[in-house]
């Protein structure tokens, strides 16, 4: 039963409030937390509202786009810098959940909740994003790939707040395309995987990212698949699409649910990874020269 609602007006105040009491939880959109409270899956006596800390800004700062933790999915989908520099994030945010969840749910809430079916974490992984964590002890930046520990579990300490997501702006001199593919058999995504390729002037892949989102307990990169693509040209990459899919499928450890068994999810992850790669190749070929 929620007894107290704290509404800190500054980050300092918020940091003071958190981490010192059981049954006290932070929230912004509330789309995840209030649901858990209603379902009886979370015991919360005190809530700390993060919406008045000015953490909802989205801006480009030199070589990074900084997305405030309290930016809603809808705001991210609409944001000019995100659309311009990290279009895959805008697209993913714009398709997440439903229109109401997008209007209230925030990127920070999504990441901290670490739902295994989240797409956002995977997309950030493809773009080498970092999260900025703040506590009264100081600030640290964590690569998104090190942020997730397992389903519903992150490295965030009890006294820490995720305050921003930092996404590097791709270099203008190189051509990078990132695509995320997902399939939702139920209300939430069943399987999702993405591929990001960057070509040098000669058309060689100089940066490859392959990652699995929904389908694994938390977003993971598929190192072997990336290595498989690194240094190739697009034609070879396309030929290896099946292998990339297979590597992604093999690397993930899906949790079954009422809509899909682990084996089927694994298969779907492979299909999504392969299709994402094909999308990327088609896109890069279209923009060639």
């Amino acid at each position: 039963m929620i007894r107290v609602l704290h509404r800190p007006g500054s980050l300092e105040e918020a940091l003071e409030l958190i981490g010192c009491r059981e049954n006290r939880r932070v929230y912004a959109g509330g789309t995840e937390l209030l649901l858990l409270v209603k379902l009886g899956l979370a015991q919360v006596r005190e809530l700390v509202d993060l919406k008045r800390l000015g953490l909802d800004g989205i801006a480009r700062d030199g070589t990074v786009v900084i997305v405030g933790a309290c930016a809603t999915h809808a705001a991210i989908a609409r944001s000019r810098p995100v659309r311009a520099f990290i279009p895959v994030l805008a697209a993913t945010a714009g398709e997440l959940g439903n229109v109401r969840v997008r209007a209230t749910g925030t990127i920070g809430g999504n990441l901290c909740f670490a739902d295994p079916s989240s797409d956002v974490g995977c997309v950030l992984l493809l773009e080498d994003a970092e999260v900025e964590l703040r506590s009264r002890r100081g600030t640290r930046r964590v690569e998104i790939g090190r942020f997730f520990v397992h389903a519903f579990s992150t490295v965030l300490a009890d006294d820490e707040l995720l305050v921003a997501v930092r996404v590097p702006v791709p270099s203008r001199t190189r051509r990078r395309v990132t695509r995320y593919r997902r399939i939702a058999l139920g209300e939430r995504p069943t399987a999702g995987a993405g591929v990001s390729l960057e070509l040098d002037a000669g058309g060689r892949i100089v940066r490859a990212r392959v990652a699995v989102g929904a389908g694994n307990p938390h977003p993971i990169r598929i190192d072997e698949a990336e290595a498989h693509l690194q240094g190739q040209d697009l034609a070879t990459a396309r030929e290896g699409a099946e292998d990339v899919g297979r590597l992604a499928a093999t690397a993930c450890e899906p949790i079954g649910d009422v809509h899909a068994s682990p084996g089927y999810k694994r298969h779907l992850v492979g299909v999504m990874a392969r299709r994402a790669l094909e999308d990327v190749v088609v896109e890069l070929e279209a923009t060639r020269g």
Binding site: L5, V37, K38, N98, V99, R100
Partner: protein, 157 residues
Amino acid sequence: MSDRTDLRLRVRVNGEEVMREVSPGRLLLDFLRDDLRLTAAKRGCDVQVCGACTVLVDGAPVSSCCYLAADVDRREVVTCEGLAHPGQKSKLQEAFIAVGAFQCGYCTPGMLVTATALLAEHPRPTREQVAEYMKGNLCRCTGYARIVDAILLAGGS
């Protein structure tokens, strides 16, 4: 109850200023229905999937079943009762009637509220845009086609 800190809430609901004390955990849906007796927003699934409880907060559609009343403080809420002046109907409401976009009518207030936000965002939407925007609103009666038709009609598409 002694340890509970109630909050004073000031909110515009359907254009009218409302001041109420609410408990911190009070859900917006309960506040609207039980405290203000605005019952157009319905409890359908209780887990923000079906959209029957949709209301606008500062113009954005939210699931009032999973939204704190406290979070509408100093903001503007519109429910289905507020989509048109009493005795009048909006273009969208007229369109829903004209094409027969409802049967039992339980999901309809949520549909209308969501569709109002949709048309504010995309004044002349395509069929695909409507389906995508509305996909979080469930209807068990109509098979959806007529709801899409009604929205397209109201949008002049």
